[in-house]
């Protein structure tokens, strides 16, 4: 785990209370803009690790959301209200990113200095051939309305996705000290998740989803 110190006003500038999160004072509710150096883990005051338990993540999010939500700054200055809105948007983004294991892994890779999905577009060597074959079989099953075959594909792809996610989980917390080569390999794994997601979306194509706006 990375042990970078959070560099920010450690004490509240208004009441001199010790700050437990970089953006709000527990004691007097003074808000602070997000410091440049702070990442999503800092924002939610949680350990910088992939192995998060979703219960404690939710609890951390709710506790901070409660303190900074604009509804609790109704009687304050327009600046305080605007800051609370912006901060809320930022912790909502932090929570949405860290809650989802794939997004969380990608985020850790990003802050660990790994390559982005634009820089490295590769997927594992055998994946493309595998995906092409699967896609053909799915199309066949869809055409013939073979529900059993569709269900079988759904299971296969879900399992493949879970296996890949397990590899990702195993390596994520080692990214901080990983070599460039390992970081690149991690990105390649992440890229393959997208292929599985696309296949699953094709299998679950919901004709109603498109008809939402009338």
């Amino acid at each position: 785990m990375d042990e970078r110190a959070i560099s920010l006003p450690v004490k509240c500038l208004s009441c001199n209370e010790q700050l437990t999160t970089p953006i709000v004072c527990d004691g007097c509710h003074t808000l602070y803009p997000v410091p440049q150096s702070a990442d999503f883990f800092d924002l939610l005051s949680i350990p910088r690790t992939f192995a998060l338990d979703s219960e404690s993540l939710s609890r951390a999010y709710r506790s901070i959301a409660r303190q900074i939500h604009p509804d609790t700054f109704g009687g304050d200055s327009i600046e305080a209200r605007n800051l609370s809105t912006r901060l809320s948007a930022q912790i909502n983004e932090a929570f949405a990113t860290l809650r989802d294991p794939v997004k969380r892994a990608a985020y850790i890779l990003e802050i660990a200095g790994g390559p982005s999905a634009i820089e490295v577009r590769e997927v594992p060597g055998t994946l493309l051939g595998e995906v092409m074959m699967l896609r053909e079989e799915i199309e066949q099953a869809q055409k013939s309305g073979d529900e059993a075959a569709m269900e079988k594909h759904r299971e296969t792809i879900t399992t493949r996705r879970e296996d890949t996610l397990r590899l990702i989980a195993d390596r994520a917390d080692a990214l901080w000290e990983a070599s460039d080569e390992d970081k690149k390999a991690f990105r390649v794994l992440l890229n393959s998740i997208k292929y599985f997601d696309n296949l699953l979306a094709e299998l679950q194509a919901d004709p109603l989803a498109a008809g939402k706006d009338h």
Binding site: R62, T72, G74, G75, T85, S88, E93, F95, L208, D213
Partner: protein, 624 residues
Amino acid sequence: MGEKRDIIIGIDLGTTNSLVAMADEAGPRLIAGDAESDDVIVPSVVGFDETGAMQTIGTSARAHAIERPTTTVHSIKRLMGRGFADVEQEIAALPYRVEKRDAATDRDMAEVVIGARSFTPPEVSALILRHLKQRAEKHFGHPVSRAVITVPAQFDDAQRQATRDAGQIAGLEVVRIVNEPTAAALAYGLDRKEDATIAVYDLGGGTFDISILRLEDGVFEVLATNGDTHLGGDDFDNALIALFAEEIRDQFGVEITSPTIKQQLRTLSENIKKRLSDRDEAQIEIAIGNDKVYRKTITRNAFEQMIAPFVIRTLDACSRAMKTASLTPGDIDQVVLVGGSTRVPYVRKRVAEVFNTKPYTALNPEHVVGLGAGVQASILSGIERDVLLLDVTPLSLGIETLGGAMGKLIAANVKIPCQASETFTTFKDGQTNIKINVLQGERELAKDCRSLGVFELGGVPPMPAGLPKISVTFLIDQNGILNVSAKEQRSGKAASIQIIPSHGLTRDEVKRMEQEAITHAREDMAAHHLIDVRTTLAFDLNKVESMLHRHSSQFDETEIEDFRQRIAELRTFAQSCDDPTKINERREAFNHSTLPLAERAMTAALSGSVATDDGDNIQAPPSN
């Protein structure tokens, strides 16, 4: 935080009915019209006279809907924040006149035309809001200036803005826009300490919302919302109306065109819907002119078949919401019903099936949103400190990209407040303006989404094409309303943004309407005042006339003749003069001059020379 603030009221501004709530330490309560009546519902109906002066609001306005269909405005919420083209179909079903607003811009808006006056939908809604505001002020005994207003969860940015504009026109600062199903969940979960997953099924007059929330440690977290802004209990009524109209055509060869008969059919259909909730069949009878009477018996079974397609659409939305939240029916602990249409047994039955649980019905489905608005008001005023609401945006937000696609920036069902940034540049050398078409919706093509308006970035430094970098931040706030800011990256200077709303009012227009609303209210009040003053005068004159008649033996001929003549003169004067003060002055002078007469009549009566009757016992004149 902490200091005592002005009171905030909570308002449920519905398509059919509206309510106003307050909240204090004792919790939320709905405010009734007067102390004697516990009637908290205000029908969202505004009655005008032929000139377009507002006359009545609520129950009394609704009572006149059948006699005065063209000057009685209902269902205005359906037109809020929408373009004329969007609502053309709905307008056909409305008995009052709606036209395309003649604005010198390319904005597309509808307006209601009554006599010589025209009203944008926010102006009509403002009349209802003002009525609710006054109801609250009467209750508190002091002015109220801030409100929470609820809207359907599926309302887009333009519809939310229109609601906020309506508040401002009514003299209310709208401190928060809350989604109706979320408000209902607040009311439901207020006294509950245990964690739970709640589905709120909200079938209103014109809109359908389904929201799924997680209630934990006093935090109400919306997990997913779905719905349809064009699906509601009105569709049930319309199905009945269409059936009746068709049968009348077949049986009598008569086409229903009269607004009065249309309105009668609507009222009958609403009643049938209610009756079939506890009976197996209902009859109607309607005179359609020329001694022809249409009679019909509708069974509950037939009614259910008629409404099934609409109910199934709501159930599909429920399934989509559960899927978004990654939940199955087994995860839902409670289903809360909102909206009058959820009283229909068939709706309850099907909802119970889709969630595999019996809906919670202890809360009045027509009160629960209003109460929730009260809870949110108490959160904002710092009375309720243990509860917090975390809502989501119902629709994806994006921009039109080259080639007319929708470039998504923020996905639907993302927690609000939320923000996204995008960098824009120029296509021509020296270009100093950039136009961005901002969209909401789930479709792939820009033309199939709602355009919120064109955002024009100004003050771009003249540079070769592609060099300027303008970073634009789109922020959706806790009200679900979009705020846009822009910065030129090289200079770090804020770029100016001018917003041309597609279907909304500009800030200046809203300010002007706020002023006009006050002037109109004064004019309308003055008109009412004049009528009242004339009525009082007529009452006084009649009284003197009858006294002269009954006590004629006490007065001499010339006295009587003199008074008769002055009475006639005053009557003519009252009709020709439209200054209430002058009329009142003349009335008072006249009354003063009759005092000796009244005394003589009284003395005579007391001495027993003349028998009095109850006719001139003192009565209170109509108040003015």
